[in-house]
């Protein structure tokens, strides 16, 4: 093995920023990636996640900041000298080269001896289970197979870092799940350090060791899947993490980290995530899984309860996703273990600890303690 994978301790991004003609696409990204880690950059389209990845790859020059590997600058190197591998959303296979030659391309560029190229290409193709397609052209393969070729092409170089730009978003749902497992397996067996860009929170949660949530070029939160899932730093992250019920309410009373909020015919006890004072406009986030249909006769003590009328019921495997509307006309997304019928009156219950209260204004939430900026925090 001429190039050994993961040959560093830490890769640091310091204040990395990029603007396009005065428009900020990415602002002050600070992140330290340890060898072997799987990092997901998560956010809606246009949030700067692909910009971040392309800056890291060297395909876009940085406007600010630097990228260091073990304290050595790499942002001054052109893309082809960084020893990173990359997997693209549209596969970006060379259409005129066979699968084999696609995978061998990078090794040839590095002047690896022919015998070794043959061996390593065979190894890489075996890894993604494409041995019998080695001589085909990319156009003859299915989408999933093409993406596996792309992955093989990236990992055959045993790069210091693998970058993946929404590699699964062009695949259909079933293949997406299979490939997700495949990527996880490859990551675990090869120990490749990976930065993975996606807009799919489920994908990010299932794959990554740590997630970076971006919005309009700004980092919203960095943390483990657990942290983000249970304690989103602001309502935007909550929205992204599947807190489908986002209610704009007003704070009535505050008691430590507990508060009572009301509006729209609702009055709920909830948990203040950062800070809130009486009469603040807040946005309250509740996951459909935490807001359940209370079975008749079950105890509701300690729960917030809301009366509502069932409108839409969807079967989702073992449970039911229900959309209900309160008497005041507020729509709520709820989970139920047994199917109510549209038109039924139901009582909904949610524990106060799972009613998360955020400032409605995202800027007012900035610099909050839950956002875990790893390693050095930046004074500005």
């Amino acid at each position: 093995m001429t190039i050994s994978a993961s040959s560093f301790d830490a890769l640091q991004l310091k204040n990395v920023g990029r603007s396009f003609g005065g428009q900020d696409a990415l602002v002050d990204l600070n992140l330290t990636i340890r060898a072997g880690e799987f990092i997901a950059l998560l956010g809606p389209s246009g949030c700067g996640k692909s910009t971040a990845l392309n800056c890291l790859a060297g395909l876009l020059p940085l406007t600010h900041g630097q990228i260091l590997i073990d304290d050595k600058r790499v942002d001054v190197l052109p893309a082809e000298k960084r020893d990173f591998g990359m997997v693209f959303q549209n596969y970006a296979l060379f259409p005129h080269l066979s699968v084999q030659k696609n995978v061998a391309f990078g090794l040839q560029m590095r002047g690896v001896p022919r015998a070794e190229i043959t061996r390593r290409v065979a190894e890489a193709l075996a890894l993604v289970r494409l041995e019998q397609h080695a001589t085909k052209l990319p156009g003859q393969l299915s989408g999933g197979q093409q993406q596996r070729v792309a992955i093989a092409r990236a990992v055959v170089l045993e790069p210091r870092l693998v970058l993946m730009d929404e590699p699964l978003s062009n695949l259909d749902a079933k293949l997406r799940l299979e490939m997700r497992t495949e990527i996880r397996r490859l990551h675990q067996s090869l120990g490749l350090t990976t930065v993975y860009v996606t807009h799919d929170q489920e994908e990010a949660l299932s794959l990554a060791d740590r997630l970076v949530v971006l919005r309009e070029g700004h980092v919203q939160q960095i943390g483990t899947p657990q942290e983000l899932h249970d304690n989103p730093a602001n309502w935007h992250v909550a929205d992204f993490m599947g807190y489908r019920n986002l209610l704009d309410l007003t704070v009535e009373t505050v008691n430590g980290s507990e508060a009572r909020v009301s509006g729209r015919g609702l009055s709920l006890a909830g948990h203040i995530v950062h800070h809130a004072a009486a009469s603040d406009s807040v946005r309250v986030a509740i996951r459909p899984h935490d807001l359940t249909v209370v079975e008749p006769g079950a105890s509701t003590s300690g729960l917030n309860t809301v009366e509502a009328t069932v409108q839409v019921v969807e079967y989702q495997g073992r449970e039911f996703a229900v959309e209900a509307v309160t008497d005041a006309g507020q729509n709520l997304f709820v989970h139920a273990s047994s199917a109510p019928r549209p038109g039924d009156r139901v009582t909904l219950g949610v524990a106060p600890s799972r009613v998360l209260i955020y400032q409605a204004d995202l800027a007012a939430e900035a610099g909050s303690p839950v956002t875990q900026t790893p390693l050095e925090s930046v004074a500005s």
């Binding site: 893309a79 005129h96 560029m109």
Partner: protein
């Protein structure tokens, strides 16, 4: 003899069909067509269309075959066909107009124009397809102008400049003036072709460790070959057929075949004998057909006349 019945039989049928069906069409209209019925199967409109096409092609082939028959006829004045056939006009035209030289000039001009316009045009189309830069619109407009403006409009000032520089009637001048529409043509054809090559492929090559040179030689180059072939063959067809611009700067030693035909048709003191010109025209047609047959291996017919993206259903 074989041609006459075709024309005899074809014409009246065509004319008749036009009248009858256009009348019937007004009476019935599309309303009495059953819903879901294939409207195109043998409807009056279809007959009308085919009649028009047949008429057009009778005209076209009439023209082409007239030239051919004329070039083979000994004396053709008052009959459907010449009284006697001969191939001697060809030999005479060949020596009278020094056609070996003329065809040589035509090929040298055409291939030089193809190669130079590709060398200049392809790199420019790469930039126009891939980069955004200030003033890009202006540059694009500049490359579009020679295609939009009538050749005579820029040809006359250009020819004047050529004569001023002492290049009049030289091969170099003929090549240079033909480049003016050809380079923009290559750019206009190649830019969309390069645009449809996914730019991430270049990024992928760079991420595999390929420098700019390798990206161009090993990835982009092979992908561009079909486009370059198509653009090249189109430029070839256009240059061989280009009359206006070549005519403005060429003189007898640097005439291409089309210009030589024109000169023979208009030569002072009464034109050359018609069959002599026809023989030359047939040779020109054969040359064009050969190029056309080669061209159609690489491009579809529509692309020969205008920049249109390839339609797979042709």
């Amino acid at each position: 003899m074989a041609d006459t019945p075709v024309i005899d039989a074809g014409r009246p049928a065509v004319r008749g069909a036009e009248k009858i069906y256009s009348k019937r069409r007004k009476g019935s209209g599309p309303a009495n067509r059953m819903p879901g019925e294939r409207s195109l199967v043998a409807s009056p409109g279809t007959w009308f269309v085919w009649a028009g096409i047949v008429a057009f092609f009778l005209f076209l082939f009439g023209i082409l075959i007239s030239v051919l028959v004329d070039s083979l006829g000994k004396s053709w004045f008052t009959n459907w066909l010449p009284t006697e056939f001969t191939a001697s006009w060809y030999g005479e035209a060949w020596s009278r107009f020094e056609l070996a030289h003329v065809i040589g000039v035509t090929l040298i001009v055409a291939f030089s124009v193809v190669i130079i316009s590709i060398l200049i045009g392809v790199p420019a189309s790469y930039v126009l397809a891939r980069s955004k830069f200030p003033g890009k619109q202006v540059v694009m407009g500049l490359f579009l102008l020679p295609v939009l403006i009538p050749p005579i409009t820029f040809g006359i000032p250009l020819a004047t400049v050529m004569y001023n520089f002492g290049l009049g009637r030289t091969l170099i001048a003929v090549i240079l003036v033909n480049l003016v529409p050809s380079v923009p043509f290559v750019i206009i054809t190649m830019t969309p072709f390069i645009e449809q090559i996914n730019p991430t492929i270049e990024n992928a090559a760079r991420m595999c460790g390929a420098g700019m040179r390798s990206v161009f030689l090993r990835v982009l180059g092979p992908l561009l070959v079909p486009g370059i072939l198509a653009a090249g063959i189109l430029v070839l067809v256009r240059t061989v057929g280009m009359f206006d611009l070549t005519f403005l700067v060429s003189g007898p030693p640097s005439d291409t075949l089309v210009v030589a035909i024109y000169r023979a048709m208009t030569s002072a003191g009464g034109a050359e004998p018609r069959p002599l010109v026809s023989a030359m025209a047939v040779m020109y047609t054969v040359m064009m057909l050969v190029i056309l047959v080669i061209a159609l291996r690489f491009v579809n017919p529509t692309q020969l006349v205008a920049r249109v993206r390839d339609n797979p259903d042709d």
